[in-house]
């Protein structure tokens, strides 16, 4: 992965975090890496544990950011979430999976938040 793209991903995730905090979420973890991949953001809101996949785009030429979230990726997200819970010894908690699309275009950042995508 090139530096520019790495930077963009990082930038998008930062914006998503700011947005989530603004919405009253408490960030528990970011870029949690485990065997097969990475959880972008783990946060909690009113007792519900939320795993967030963030996609950042600079144009809509290849479709919306959400178009990049495939079934395989969602399945991996689910497995990673289970690993995270086991690792942190969290149980008996409400869990939700969200997707956040960040569009960075012409100096403007648009954030779209889809809840309960799985």
């Amino acid at each position: 992965m090139t530096d520019a793209r790495q930077w963009l991903g990082r930038y998008g995730e930062d914006r998503a975090c700011e947005y989530l905090v603004g919405q009253g979420y408490q960030i528990l973890d970011r870029n949690w890496r485990y065997r097969e991949g990475e959880l972008d953001i783990v946060c909690v809101q009113r007792g519900t544990l939320v795993f967030v996949e963030v996609k950042t785009r600079t144009s809509l030429a290849t479709g919306s950011p959400f178009d990049a979230i495939t079934k395989t990726k969602l399945a991996r997200l689910r497995r990673l979430a289970a690993s995270w819970c086991a690792n942190r010894q969290v149980s008996n908690s409400q869990v939700r999976f969200d997707a956040i699309g960040v569009l960075v275009r012409g100096g403007r950042v648009t954030i779209e938040h889809l809840k309960q995508v799985l």
Binding site: G63, S64, F66, D67, I69, L114
Partner: protein, 511 residues
């Protein structure tokens, strides 16, 4: 931006079902799901609709799109729902207003560029839409003339998805069908009865068959002119009524022979399936949803089975139900369908496998066993329904040199047929029949009974066991048709005698 609904028609045989196409767009990860029992060809609509919407410049929502075809339990197939699906999605996207879609029936297949392609079965679909109370139909331009045959519903044709969107937004107009000036019969057929020479007797038999709607069998050596005669039968049949022509056009629309009819064709159809035809080709069938076969394509026309004895036995036997009831019910995994099949049957056969039996100057080489096997292929129940059996003799040299008179032209014969049919309709009006061939035996012998003097010959034949009771009734039917042709009030001894001759023997080959 969420919910919208359009309407289309699904066909099951000739009957239709109104299909509601509902679209729900929700904020979720992008997906496009089509539910409501679509088959493989219909599931592919998702790809066509997505591409057509995008390439027409409307975009496609990056959201969760669910399209439901209701009633959900009815299996659906084919590409004719494409346009209704696309319009439903565009309405949910608020690209088009929802209100005009409420009484509009939408039919058509989409190309990837958003162009509209014609689909089979539009005529019966539009008929059903009118019956279901829709005020308008939008269909592809290629189907417009066909759809325009239906009165009492506004029919519009569109070239592509964009033109429909413009029309729904009051920014453009769609094509209207050309006004049908009248029922123009199509170009006259080059086949004329006058071209048949030296077969005057057979020609008269053919005219009787046309006048009374009698099924007919012709037996004769190869080259005697059986096919030539049969091909000219439609030319001496009266033109179809508007109602009949619409029925025939609806069947042809489903059969999807791809020819866009410009006008309602009122000529009786002629179907001549090859003797290797399968039962499904003959009576209808196919995988999934049944499709009409030759018997239905010959509805209100002529079904000609050349080399009738070469057909598979079970194919010939499958003709029994349509011959009896005038329709066929076909069941397949995809559903069952009833198609009308009221045709006039014309059989042609050689007298034996080698075809030479009965010729003066040639010897038949078939064994007795071979001939028996050959003639047994036509089962009694089918044979029973054939009123006229003509033995076609090869034309002798004299006829070719013009020593014999040529027969009447098709126009002359048709005039006689029409007059005779008018007489029959008048007489049979009180009984609920139109043709002599439809009248059952008890009526012929009862209320339509004719004088004992006329029946003397026939009665004697029955006594002597030379004819069966069924053969007796058939002779009566023929006698009535002959009387109608001759303009006599009631068949007399002469007409009965001709009828007996036309009826021939109970055995097809005259043995």
């Amino acid at each position: 931006m969420s919910l919208a609904k359009t309407f289309s028609v699904g066909l099951y045989g000739l009957s239709g079902t109104v299909i509601e196409v509902e679209t729900d767009i929700s904020s979720q990860l992008p997906s496009f799901t089509l539910v409501g029992l679509p088959d493989a060809s219909l599931s592919e609509a998702t790809a066509r609709v997505r591409a057509a919407c995008t390439n027409s410049g409307f975009g496609f929502p990056s959201k969760k799109v669910v399209v439901n075809l209701s009633p959900a339990a009815v299996p659906k197939s084919g590409s004719a729902f494409d346009l209704a699906i696309a319009t439903s999605i565009l309405a949910a996207m608020e690209v088009v207003p929802k209100q005009p879609l409420e009484r509009l029936c939408i039919i058509g297949e989409l190309g990837l560029d958003g162009s509209l392609r014609q689909v089979p079965g539009v005529l019966p679909m539009v008929m059903h839409a009118r019956q279901s109370g829709f005020t308008g139909v939008v269909c592809p331009l290629g189907n417009l003339s066909e759809a325009g045959m239906v009165d009492g519903i506004q029919v519009l044709g569109a070239a592509n998805l964009r033109s429909i969107v413009d029309w729904l937004n009051d920014r453009g107009v769609l094509e209207e069908p050309l006004q049908l000036s009248d029922l123009n019969p199509s170009t006259p057929s080059p086949l004329d009865l006058a071209q048949v020479i030296g077969q005057n007797q057979a020609v008269e038999g053919l005219i009787v068959a046309a006048a009374g709607g009698h099924h007919i069998a012709m037996v004769g050596a190869p080259g005697a002119g059986k096919t030539m005669l049969a091909e000219r039968l439609p030319s001496i049949l009266p033109a179809l009524s508007t109602e009949q022509a619409l029925e025939v056009a609806a069947i042809e629309s489903i059969a999807g022979n791809g020819q866009a009819a410009l006008n309602l064709d009122t000529t009786p159809r002629f179907q001549a399936p090859h003797h290797s035809s399968s039962t499904a080709a003959l009576i209808g069938g196919g995988t999934g949803m049944p499709r009409p076969g030759a018997v239905s394509k010959a509805h209100h026309g002529v079904l000609f089975l050349d080399e009738a004895l070469e057909f598979h036995g079970h194919s010939l036997d499958s003709l029994r139900e349509p011959l009896e009831s005038g329709k066929v019910l076909i069941n397949r995994s995809g559903g069952s369908a009833t198609f009308p099949a009221r045709f006039q049957l014309v059989l042609a056969a050689n007298p034996c496998p080698c075809g030479l039996s009965g010729l003066a100057d040639r010897d038949c080489t078939c064994s007795a066993m071979a001939i028996r096997r050959y003639t047994n292929r036509l089962s009694g129940p089918v044979l029973d329904r054939i009123d006229i059996r003509l033995a076609i003799k090869p034309v002798s040299l004299g006829a070719n040199l013009g020593l014999f008179d040529t027969g009447p032209s098709s126009a002359e014969a048709l005039a006689r047929v029409v007059r005779a049919r008018e007489g029959a309709v008048e007489r049979l009006a009180g009984f609920g029949y139109r043709l002599n061939s439809e009248v059952p035996g008890p009526v012929l012998r009862g209320r339509l009974g004719i004088g004992a003097k006329a029946l003397k010959d026939l009665d004697r034949m029955l006594m002597a066991g030379k004819t069966s009771m069924r053969g007796y009734d058939r002779c009566l039917r023929l006698a009535w048709t002959i009387a109608d042709l001759e303009g006599v009030k009631q068949p007399g001894p002469d007409q009965v005698r001709i009828a007996v001759a036309l009826r021939g023997t109970d055995n097809l080959l005259g043995a």
